[in-house]
Structures are given as C-alpha cells and as structure tokens.
Amino acid sequence: MLNIAVCIKQVPDARTVRFDKETGMMIREGVETIINPVDLNALEAALAIKDGHDARIHVLTMGPPSADKALRDALSMGADQAYLLSDRAFAGADTLATTRVLAAALKKIGQMDMVVCGNQSVDGDTAQVGPGLAVRLEMPSVAYVNALELTADTLKCIRMTGHGHDTVLMKTPCLVTVIPSINTPRMPSLKGKMKAKSAGIPVWTANDLGLSMNDIGLAGSPTRVLNTFVRSFEARRERLEGDADAQVAALCERLVAAGVL
C-alpha cells in the first residue's frame, strides 16, 4: 500500500480579508478561514492516485487548534488520517522552521512514498515550504507540477515553466508541489463529513516531535520581516465614450502615452 502525505495550510479567506491602513496589519475579526486553495488541488492529486491505487492518505497541518476544521474538511473529501501540529512554540515560524516541524511529523508518521503540497500559500506566497520540506526529508522534488502519473515506483511529472513545460520522471519516495490547473478538487461527501466529524486527530507538540526550541517558531526562523504595508491603488478613473472602435482608439492612445504600449 502506498502512503501519501498531503501538507495543507489554513489561510484567511481572501474574500473576507480587510487591512488596517495605519498599521498594515490584517484585521482578523470577521475573517473566515479556508484551506489554502491550491492545497485542495494537492489533496485532489493524492485522491486521484488513491482512486487507481491501494493508498492511504495522511493529511497534516501546522497551525493553531482551530486548524482542526481544515483537517476535518480534508477528511470529508476522502483523506484517511489527519494530524495537527500545534504548539505555541511554533508561532512566528518562517518557511525554514515550518519545514522542520513538518519533516519531524512525517518521520514520526512513517515512511511516505509521496508527499504532495500546494505550490504556495495565498497568504505567505513564498513557494518555499514544499521544496524546503523535500530537503529536510532528503527526497527528490519537482515543483509547479501540472500533471502527475504514477507507474510502479516512477512518478511522471509535467512541470510548468515560463516557456512551456518539462516532463520529469522521478523515483518514489519523492515530493511534488502542484499548481491550481492540475485538477478540479472534488466535493466533500456526506459520508466523508459524517466520518470526519468523529475522526480522532492527534495533536502533536514540539515535545512530541522531539524538536529543539532553537529550531522552531520565531527562534528557529532566520527570516526577519522588516515592514508590512498595504499597497494602495489610487488609479485615475476615466470613462471612455463612443462606439467600440472609438473607445479602443482612445484606450490605445492613453496606453501609448503612459508608455505601456
């Protein structure tokens, strides 16, 4: 049986996010949380493999106790087992510290044949956790994957590049990060939701994972955020009148003047 891990992150729902213009900080109040959208594609990629193979899907996240909901959502879509990595000491982790926690948890769960991550989160947006985790796990990895096909112990990956795509063959165990166009995540099922409601989800702390305080959270994070700000778009607005041809001509004229064309 294959063991496939999917790493997910609970993020603020971009549709409900507002920022405090003064401090540049997000206003947490009234913000709903969702599974980072591309992580659903990662889960779907794993589920699609499970549809054709004997596989067990382990889904894990590092986050506050409330991230339990994201894990149950993943279980309701068909993941087999969830793990919550939660400890106040994990707070303030950058991508390096995060991958140390995820790697320790994956080693504790057991030998994985495959790890699937979304390419990047909508909040941090670094795209570093997947490849960083592969380094920590000493696995080969391919990022920006748009198609996957598993044959025996070889994973065929279509990796999108700026100019086209590469086809990469990789032996398992390995890690991939996927992009949103790889698939359409399936709907949760009623039976899945009922099962997820009562599923036991172990909560592991730094202690459980045998991690040193120097390697995790803020202390284990060399990244320093110097400043955050809200980019304001104070665009000039102008309504172009006339028929379509006249409007196109007027628009082109303005774009040329602005140096865009």
């Binding site: 709907m187 949760p188 099922s189 009623l190 039976k191 899945g192 009922m194 409601k197």
Partner: protein
C-alpha cells in the same frame, strides 16, 4: 439579527452546508450557460454523485444515507438556490428511486438502489401521458402478460430526464376494466427492447432539465420487473407523489430565497432620485412581503416534511399544502424580484428573469396547484364529515 431557528441536527446542518457549497461553487457559475444551451447538467450530476446526496432517502443497507423527507427537502432547497433545472434533474432521480424504496422487493432494491444512491445511474418516474395529466386515470399505456414477460405499449409524455436516466418507474394499465385499480407499476431500463425516446422538448424555463416522450412498442420486460403488486400502480404513484410534494415546495423555497437575495442586493446598490432604491417604501414593502412569504413557505415545508418522517400515513392534504403554498410563493417572489430590478430584471444579464421563467413550472408539475387545491378540498370534506 436573529433568524428563524429550525433546530437542525448536526447531520442536517452538514447536508445544508454540502448542498449549499455545491449550489454556490458548482451550479451558480454555470446556470446561465446551461439555461442558454439547454445542455444536460452531467458535470453537476457527477459532483452530486460524489457528495452522496443522491442517497439521502435510500436506506443505508442499499448504499444510501438512510434519512427522510425532511433531509431530502433541505438538500433540494439549497440546490435550488443555484438552479432549479439542475435540482429538478436531481429530484427526478429520487422520484424514480422512491417507489423502489417503498414497494420494491429485496431483489429489486439490491439491483437498483445502490446505483441510484451512488448517482451512477439516474432514475425517473413516468406517469403523465398526452391525455392523462391531472386526470391520471386516463392513461393509455398498457402492459400485457406474455409467458415470462410483460409487454408494454403506449407513449408517456413530458417525462423529466427521459433518455438521460436509466431506471424508470412506469405506470401502465394491466386491467383497464378495473379503472384506477387496473394500473400497475413496472421497472423499465434504458436499453430494454422496444423502449425508445422522442425528441427533447423546448421549454420556457427549466431548460437544463431534459424532457422527452417515452415510447413503448412491444417493449418486453422480464416478469420480475413488476413493482409492488398487480393493480397497485395508482397507490404507488400517489404515495410517491405524496412523499415528493414537500420536496417541490422546498425547491420553491430555495428559488424564492435566491430571488429575494438578488432583489435586496440590487435595491441596495441601485441609485435613483439620488437615493438607493431600498430607501423607498414602495420597494421596502415588496421586499418585506417577499421575505415574509419565503420564510412562511419554509416553515410550512419543514413542518410538513418532519410530520411525514414521523408518520407517513394519510399525508395527502399536508403534502399538497406544502407544495401549493411554497410554489405559489416562488412564482410571486420571482415575479416581484424582476419588478424590483426593473428593466435590468427583464434582461438576461441578471439571473432573476430565468428564476421567474423557471418558477412557473413549479405550479404545474407534480400535480398542478389546482389539483393540490382539489386534494386539500377533498380532504377537508372528508375530515369534516367525520364529526
């Protein structure tokens, strides 16, 4: 702001959330396209199959969830928030499946229910004919015993999902001289010899749902396809419709809610005479009536569905009330939504004109609202004769 609390259980809440998610994420974005092209919503049927919702009312031992009329209504209401043509396709499968749940032999249940529950095959229900609509006793389709087979001849009309569904509950006359007691229900499968479909009908609304004729020309089906007993056909049809009618009410509630939401959000952003039109009493009163009627319809549908789940005997009157009231409300609320949006509401750029076109069928199918009033009236006559 307090909302009416219907005290749903955690499982019922899950059904609502799941159906709502499908309505918002899968149905709503493509409903205008489906309406325009009249294409059968296979993509969404796949999502619904994946979600287990096809099996809500089917016992767990046959692959379903084992819930009742109320849970079915909850799902139908939420799906209808997206598009009632899609919901009707979903509901039609239940109309084909429910008679098997109620009257099927164990063998028939094993053969058909798991597929209907998983959504891998759609069901449908065929009663109506050219000369047998409200007067169901006028059906002409006949079934004659021939050795180990039944031979069906005749034509069913306006059958929802005909041609796309695979498992059909068909009502045919076996003993014409016995009148209504001479009707029998049969299970017919797509592909049975002598069973074919007419052209797809062009409709005013409900356009993503397919409607066709079903033609039986010496259609031979094995003897074990009889559903229930010989002569039980009308009982089966009536019991099926009694169970299904609150569901049509629920479709009306979901549609009304969708129209109300469109009307309120439009009224909050449409500026006339220097004010948002929601500040005008003329608009406020329309919206207030729409909201109140929608909630009243929901309350009635829920209460009736729960009553049916507690005791399903003699439900014709209350089931007709739920269908009648909630679908008349849907017609009125969608019509008023178009009025609130004015000229924009009449254009296809906004969803309310489709809602209004779609709403009309709710007053017609599964028994016209005039027939519902007959049922209620006859029940009253009977009730008051007892005292």
């Amino acid at each position: 702001m307090a909302q009416v609390n219907y005290f749903l259980t955690e499982e019922q809440q899950m059904i609502v959330e799941l159906a709502r998610k499908i309505a918002i994420e899968k149905i709503l974005p493509i409903r205008a396209r489906l309406d325009e092209t009249e294409e059968f919503p296979w993509e969404i049927m796949k999502d619904l199959a994946q979600s287990d919702l096809f099996g809500i009312y089917i016992p767990e031992e046959y692959g379903g969830i084992g819930k009742g009329c109320f849970e079915t209504c909850l799902a139908l209401e939420q799906l209808s928030y997206g598009c009632i043509a899609v919901t009707t396709t979903f509901a039609a499968s239940a109309l084909g499946g429910y008679p098997i749940v109620m009257f099927g032999s164990d063998e028939q249940k094993k053969r058909y229910l798991p597929d209907i529950a998983s959504g891998s095959r759609l069901g449908a229900f065929a009663l109506t004919e050219a000369n047998a609509g409200s007067d169901a006793a006028g059906i002409q389709t006949s079934a004659v015993e021939d050795g180990d087979y039944w031979v069906l001849n005749g034509t069913k009309q306006w059958i929802t999902s005909a041609g796309d569904a695979e498992i059909y509950t068909v009502i045919a006359m076996t003993d014409r001289h016995k009148g209504p007691r001479g009707a029998t229900a049969f299970l017919v499968e797509k592909g049975d010899p002598g069973f074919s479909f007419g052209k797809k009908e062009k409709k005013m609304g409900l356009r993503a749902s397919s409607t066709r004729e079903m033609v039986f020309t010496d259609c031979r089906i094995p003897k074990d396809r009889i559903l229930g007993k010989r002569g039980q056909g009308f009982i089966i049809a009536l019991k099926t419709l009694d169970f299904a009618r609150p569901g049509i009410g629920a479709i009306g509630v979901g549609l009304s809610q969708a129209a109300l939401d469109e009307a309120v959000s439009y009224a909050k952003q449409r500026m006339q005479f220097g004010q948002y039109i929601i500040s005008f009493q003329a608009i406020q009163h329309m919206l207030a009536d729409m909201a109140t009627h929608t909630e009243a319809a929901r309350s009635l549908v829920y209460a009736v569905a729960r009553t049916i789940d507690a005791d399903s005997r003699d439900i014709a009157k209350i089931s007709a009330m739920a269908k009648l009231f909630a679908t008349d409300v849907a017609m009125r609320v969608t019509t008023d939504a178009v009025q609130v949006l004015g000229g924009y509401g009449y254009m296809k750029d906004y969803p309310v004109e489709k809602m209004m076109r779609d709403a009309k069928v709710l007053q017609i199918y599964e028994g016209t609202n005039q027939i519902q009033r007959n049922v209620i009236g006859q029940a009253l006559n009977k009730e008051y004769s007892k005292v």
